[in-house]
Subunit: 240 residues, 2 copies
Amino acid sequence: MQRYFINKNQIINNTIKIKDNDYHHIKNVMRMKIDDEVIACDQEKSYLCKIISVDDYVNLEIINTLDDNAELLNNVTIAHGLVRREKTEEVIRRLVELGCHKYIPVLMNRSVVRHTNDKQERYMKIIKEASEQSERQKLMEINEIISYKELLALTIHFDLVLFCHTINRQEINLKKVMQSFTGHNILVIIGPEGGFSDNEVKEIMKTKAQLVSLGRRILRTETAPLYVMSILAYEVENEG
Amino acid sequence: MQRYFINKNQIINNTIKIKDNDYHHIKNVMRMKIDDEVIACDQEKSYLCKIISVDDYVNLEIINTLDDNAELLNNVTIAHGLVRREKTEEVIRRLVELGCHKYIPVLMNRSVVRHTNDKQERYMKIIKEASEQSERQKLMEINEIISYKELLALTIHFDLVLFCHTINRQEINLKKVMQSFTGHNILVIIGPEGGFSDNEVKEIMKTKAQLVSLGRRILRTETAPLYVMSILAYEVENEG
């Protein structure tokens, strides 16, 4: 069933007023009629609704609150070396599907692009669409671009920090790390195309970050986040 | 180091003759010189080589056989409902990185495209490039398009067949399946955009296929293979 994200303040007396893009989508794209059903999501709960009228708004009546939950129990944040806009778009779209909580683009030494934060609106549109399609209850957050120094300072706020980098195969087996993990917030750090600089590696190893391996093959910078996020979702959702 | 796939018959008396695209790549793209080193791979072994001369061929001398191994211990074959060419290209590129053994496009009831096998050459080029970049020793195989009936007949040749589909959450936890698996050949079956038809589900459930869940969120048809392949690579490569 079609799913739309709303703000809590759109709910008044058991009805929901839909406007703008979602209004257009319901009325002109989906061509829905009175009594057709949709799901509205306020990022906490999902509501099964039916369309009761269409005027300047599409007006929904809440039939009942749904018991669905597609969110991961743990919050996974992916900090990713800044890459090209098209790659960023693909990565965030798939990370939404895989249950990621937050994406942080980080300006690293070997980031070959220097784009700014002017794409945030477009990214939010992709996140909203992917969240509706994958039937999530929450929108993945996307951070503004931060510096590596700011990333280092963030590490203390997480229960587990995974630094994905291969140095002479001295890294730790990711499965061993996950088997002993009991916390809630996970930060995953992935480099840009050229990987991390020596100095970046040195600096991160002074923090609580753990060096982990992403398998025996060299993954592209846009594949690595999907690999890690798949595994974390799998480990969190499947009891052994 | 730059890596090139060769045929065994290119190795004669400890030297290797490189021609065509790889000749062009070494000479004109990488602008390599005499004594520069490259890795040559015959899909069984990898050889560290140096360039000894350039005439009609780039002539390599084998310095030594390398002990690298980026291949998974298990063979994972992904059978995927036929999707658009651009999606197929993206999926095969990432599956190579993630260690997949073979990709089989399958014409299913809800496949919206009907393209033919004329893209095989282009797909092989992508596979070769992705294998060199991810430092694999073997090229992922790509099958010609087969019918669903042919797919059903193939299932008996595998030790484990995973049918990725959600029916009222009655599917089996993938982790439980992997924990008890001791075989070698795994077949993963993933639907096209619209999923499997009722009849396809009915037919596959008569085979040895096991119904498994890909997590709580709805994955796009091009994300699902990456999720499963990530997890299988992770399970195979990491001892608990």
